[in-house]
Subunit: 274 residues, 2 copies
């Protein structure tokens, strides 16, 4: 039975758009409603109780748009409110933490997994709890490091400067000393720093993007739950925010189409003759 309802995705801001990109790669036919709570961004410094209220409120808003599945594409909101969101809606809910933790459990060979994220995500202990739930014997050690400045670098499109690489060296030094062999990029902004993080960590560390892992979980949920859209006709993608629409529009463009960010005009197509 095809199910034409959209997938609902939300985040405190624009980082969740990298999760949207991964979902669209695997599920190009699905309609999507994205909600970025940019008017109340960032969630990190807020009390857990407040983040829970916001998350449940946004889930209800998405439900009013008849979504068939909700993705909490925000590490802070997943850490604070995943059970509450799941309990408040009658559709499946996928967060960004558990899929990445499952992938890391498999990927580590030496049992030492690094986690980087915002201060709020690292402090919340949500990744540590997810590891405990999947690995009660505690065979995997998790070494967490907050990287507070990474988000601002990504939002201004700086992924290569000396300043960024120095910040990365500083943040990641402890993880290198700890010999982690797997590193979870525990913030939806970080896929854009993959090259820089790999450069600092080296070839011996597997980098896991929570966006890719989450998109895989969404794919599984739709296929296994017989929820694929499968109809003809173009899907619809709607992007909503609670904050300044112009800045949101700019960041939506940058995050969904980084290949246009700052590039000159549209791609030039030409033909080369033998």
């Amino acid at each position: 039975m095809p199910d034409a309802r959209p997938i609902g995705v939300f985040d405190s801001g624009v980082g969740g758009l990298t999760v949207v990109r991964a979902i669209v790669d695997s599920l190009p036919g699905e309609s999507i409603v994205y909600f970025g709570d940019t008017g109340r961004y960032p969630y990190g410094p807020r009390p857990l109780e407040e983040i829970r209220d916001f998350a449940v409120q946004i889930a209800q808003h998405l439900l009013e748009q008849d979504v068939k599945l909700i993705v909490v594409a925000c590490n802070s909101a997943t850490a604070a409110a995943l059970p509450e969101v799941s309990a408040s809606v009658p559709v499946p809910v996928v967060g960004v933490i558990e899929p990445a933790v499952r992938a890391a459990m498999r990927a580590t060979a030496n049992g030492r997994v690094g986690l980087i994220g915002t201060e709020a995500t690292v402090r919340s202990g949500a990744y540590q709890r997810a590891f405990q739930a999947l690995d009660p014997a505690g065979t995997v050690e998790i070494i967490a490091q907050a990287c507070p400045r990474f988000v601002e670098f990504v939002e201004r499109g700086d992924t290569t400067s000396h300043e960024l690489l120095q910040a990365a060296e500083g943040y990641l030094a402890l993880l290198r000393v700890a010999s982690v062999d797997t590193l979870i990029l525990g913030c939806t902004h970080y896929p854009f720093l993959r090259g820089a993080i790999h450069h600092v960590m080296g070839d011996d560390v597997v980098l896991l993007s929570s966006g890719d892992a989450t998109a895989n979980a969404v794919y599984d949920a739709l296929v296994s739950g017989d929820l694929l859209r499968e109809t003809g006709g173009p899907p619809q993608r709607t992007f909503e925010s609670s904050g300044d629409p112009d800045r949101f529009a700019t960041l939506v463009t940058h995050f969904l189409n980084p290949q246009f960010r700052g590039a000159l005009g549209v791609p030039l197509l030409s033909v080369w003759e033998d």
Copy 2:
């Protein structure tokens, strides 16, 4: 010393655009010239000698556009001609095979790595040779499987149909029986099948995209070689092909902007008030 010259990227067709996407994510300030040899696509059935001639010819064409580094974003051409291309140009050359093999060497815990690709790539034995070079003791076993129909599914945007999932089950059955714990997506089209491949292989297998690994290698080469652009002003991205420009333009749009593929119009931005 900033280096404003573009990066040259080529492929027998459009699959290499997924590598471009990964490069742009990590290196948004770099100018890029992409050449898709769509007029002579596919390379797979051609004699090795001919593929070598094409690859060297295209590398020269890119060099005439003053590129600072060349990415052979094509598994067939990397397999057939990487040493010849490297020897024919005075700039660094990065292929798609070795970066993925390095990542797989690290990612496997049980020493059983799967490889999927086109028939030409699998038959060429290039991945097997790359493993041998990096792992002379032969501690890693590679199990290769050609998936000839995957490319056509991706090019028509089908990543979820019953037919596709059945094809995937068939192609991947041997790799599941062989208990690989790591799987190289050895074709630049396959990132779009990540959800389907993960669905069939399950959570216990790490999927490695050669595009991500290659982008990391390009990042390393530019940073270590002091070749970053680092200038103000927008980068330029040029897309050239040797075949039908209309079909090429359509596929460039689909591969670089899959979120627009078949979606209704541009994203709608709206504001939600509390």
